[in-house]
Symmetry: C2
Subunit: 502 residues, 2 copies
């Protein structure tokens, strides 16, 4: 990896292949021609422009208006998406920020990407928007083709089927439902065994045996969504969970690695072995046996917590040993940001996970699976009216094409290595402000801890960068896949300014 | 109402105001000019065309292909949405069916409605598709305006705020979350009282007091979704619930009315009084006290079960008396089909429900509320990455405009009365086949029971109509809002053919 950095970053695209901003955007972006920052985005801003405090007067006025009908207390900044372009988010006061938060890691190929404009204007997209089908009952004649040329083209190895959903939470919850149905079917003796009268009656009363006494095992500091089943597996922060009834499901400790990794090899290996032992103990002993274990490749809301490929291989082994399914939650890590299309591609698993869930950068959601037994034994068991959104599936297909056309996964790997190396240098210079740097070799999915994290994030805006946090202390970097060395330099400069300004 | 029918139905629109099919569609629809069936849709098919068995050979081929990657066992029919228009759904074999199922009641203003085509092609829509925001953090500068000119313009009386979601299940579940947070806040002594350490710690372990020991009360045979919290309140069929862990939440009997209503006045009044008494008993005695009661105006999946306005006024009274919230689930009944924009407009409630949830015909989802205390006391408690989809909110705005432009709610009221009267006549002629006719004065939201229901639905396709069922025996009619007297006549003719064909 070091050799790539030594060789210097080169634009992946020739200038002639650059993406041109639509003319309406070019007028608003006040582009000068002296330096081309993006090798993809012709007409992208050359750097941040901060004209006012954020929120500025125009934003404040709009926020006040919005708050009368919509809770704005979690508002970070107001955006004008008609003016945002590429890596830059623009607000109503004309502030132009380099966006390395990207709608909580949900923008893959840049604001107003012209290829996506084209896809959104296509007759196929228009048709999907206005004739939304109940997919389980009335799929369109070309739904197989939309899946095969899009979502399934990037299916993780070994998983050739998909259940489409709406967002991360229901992607995970439908995967849980599949796990529970699979497990009970196995216990019952196979798909041909009919439900008993007792099961059918008790299910209607939310009682066992019809409502199963099973669980999903998740990890402490993990995040898997905020609906009732997914929230029962989310263990990030009290504010996410307070007052909401929850299932009595088990949680295992996620290994808490110490950094730099090379200085804590034995300690970290022990932390991972202990965590696996705890998983095995819970599988064997929890009063509601786990049908599945769900895990994020990198705990993305809970503080950017990493574990080694060996840990995940161990988890695959433990789950297989005990007939428990392994669900990999790639809602935030999926679609290229870690330098692989799926973060679990880094693990070199002997056998694939049983299910992989996705959302965010896919702009649609669902879960992949391979085992035909994960299709429930009868229809209408895994079903809902919409079962996803073909319009969003069509958009994901265009995103995949854009990623392939520009080798954007390779790009994040390279730019991530560059960025990581430069933050390592910052960490040497300012050790207090760049603690526990993590994400080496994980593309641009990089984080570090800062003791004054919330101030750090607030200050970042003054220096022209939109950055997010995770957990209590982490600064999490979530650039888009079109983030290049030149953007990294702007980010690095801004981060150094932040920590030297206090 | 009788006078309207006596006066005869007149097209609401002059011919000059008719919606013209796009030229591409006009070519494929094989329209003759002899009779104009739709007064809105110029170029709509004049009637069903059944060319093959359904599925025909082309459909079968596509279904086989689709099944390799997507579970097709719940497939009803494959559709070609590029060729479907107005009230008619077209399949790949060229069969053209009058669609009174309408994607499980989710198509409001017709397939390929030209006004929606225009909205879908607008720069605003394109922008929303490709720049999807994390709405809670980074709303667009004009989000207030999108809400106010769309979703909020049709807000139920007394409810001026909205939380946007993705589909019916999470619309209900986020409403439940709001109810739990509201109830615990009241118990705690108001929004300013901080969470205790014990609450915060126990919440992380899914234990009380942090995870509340509260419930949502729902009704037997009700349907509120299929994720873990919503499924715990769904009581429609075992197949929806089997094997899935559930909360031990209470259910009250939904009054089982006898038809014709005028012959069972006292009996039905007693059934409703008993149901209300049961609700009150459960509120006072269930071991997990209900924070809210959720109810559908018409139980739409569980068999098209109706109750009187007096029952719902009684429910409002009981819930208010005990400080329990009343959530009206208008996911299927909302947006015009009952002859009012919201079905609960029929009830003449003394005070509005606390929350009203919506989805389906709105093409987006969420819940309305009025009480500012239903905004949790801190940000990030009711939050997720996307919090709905602005593209779908923009589409809903266009749907609302179309409904207003053509007085479509008035249309469903009138056409519904006509249709109901005609089915009453059929019921006199064929009493075995049109039992328990219900939905009088409820627009086109009409149902009846048929002892061979599944055969009835299968045969309907042979006679050119796509109809759905609900519960075990009900034939449920869910035409679009653009369904007119002429379409009703086609439906009536087909239904008579079905029951005289066996």
């Amino acid at each position: 990896m070091a050799s790539l950095r030594a060789a210097g970053m080169r634009p992946i695209l020739a200038a002639s292949k650059r993406i041109a901003a639509p003319s309406t955007l070019r007028q608003t972006l006040a582009v000068s021609s002296s330096r081309m920052v993006s090798s993809y985005y012709q007409g992208e801003a050359q750097g941040p422009v901060v004209k006012t405090d954020i929120p500025g007067p125009k934003s404040q006025e709009a926020i006040t208006k919005l708050d009368t009908v919509f809770d704005t207390r979690s508002l970070n900044m107001l955006a004008d998406y008609t003016k945002s372009f590429g890596n830059y988010i623009v607000d109503p006061d004309g502030n132009t920020l380099l966006d390395v938060y990207a709608q909580i890691a949900s923008i893959p190929v840049g604001y107003n990407n012209p290829a996506l404009v084209k896809a959104a204007q296509s007759p196929e997209m228009v048709n999907s928007i206005i004739n939304r089908p109940a997919l389980g009952n009335f799929p369109s004649h070309d739904w197989a083709s939309v899946l095969e040329t899009g979502i399934l083209k990037v299916a993780p190895k070994g998983l050739n089927q998909v259940f489409t959903a709406m967002a991360g939470s229901d992607a995970n919850e439908t995967a849980y439902k599949a796990a529970f149905m699979w497990r009970r079917q196995k216990e019952r003796g196979g798909p041909a065994v009919e439900f008993t009268e007792e099961e059918m009656e008790s299910a209607m009363n939310n009682q066992s045996p019809g409502a199963s006494q099973l669980s999903i095992l998740s990890f402490k500091t993990g995040f898997h969504g905020r609906l009732f089943g997914s929230l029962s597996t989310t263990r990030s922060k009290p504010i996410h969970k307070l007052d909401i009834p929850a299932f009595d499901w088990p949680q295992a400790t996620f290994p808490q690695l110490k950094y730099p990794l090379e200085e804590h090899v034995e300690e970290n290996a022990k932390a991972e072995a202990d965590a696996l032992a705890e998983v095995e103990h819970l599988i064997k002993n929890w009063h509601l046996p786990p049908a599945a274990v769900i895990v994020e490749p990198i705990q993305s809301e809970g503080g950017d917590n990493h574990a080694s490929p060996a840990f995940f291989r161990g988890l695959r082994e433990v789950t297989q040993k005990h007939g428990v399914l392994m669900i990999v939650d790639e809602v935030q890590t999926g679609v290229g940001a870690t330098g692989k299309f799926w973060a679990h591609d880094h693990w070199d698993l002997p056998t694939p996970p049983d299910m992989v869930t996705f959302s965010k950068k896919a702009q649609t959601a669902g879960y992949y699976f391979g085992n035909p037994e994960l299709r429930p034994n009868k229809p209408y068991r895994q079903f809902n009216t919409w079962m996803g959104d073909p319009a969003r599936a069509i958009l994901f297909r265009a995103i995949i094409e854009e990623i392939e056309r520009h080798n954007l996964v390779e790009n994040t790997a390279k730019v991530g290595d560059y960025l990581f190396g430069k933050i390592e240098e910052l960490a040497k210079k300012y050790p207090q402000d760049f603690q526990n740097l993590r994400g080496k070799g994980q593309g641009t999915f990089i984080a570090f801890d800062n003791p004054k994290r919330d101030q750090f994030l607030a200050k970042a805006k003054k220096f022209g960068v939109n950055i997010g946090g995770s957990g209590a202390h982490a600064v999490r970097l979530r650039p888009m896949l079109i983030f290049e060395k030149s953007h990294a330099d702007i980010l690095l400069e801004a981060m150094e300014k932040i920590v030297t300004s206090w």
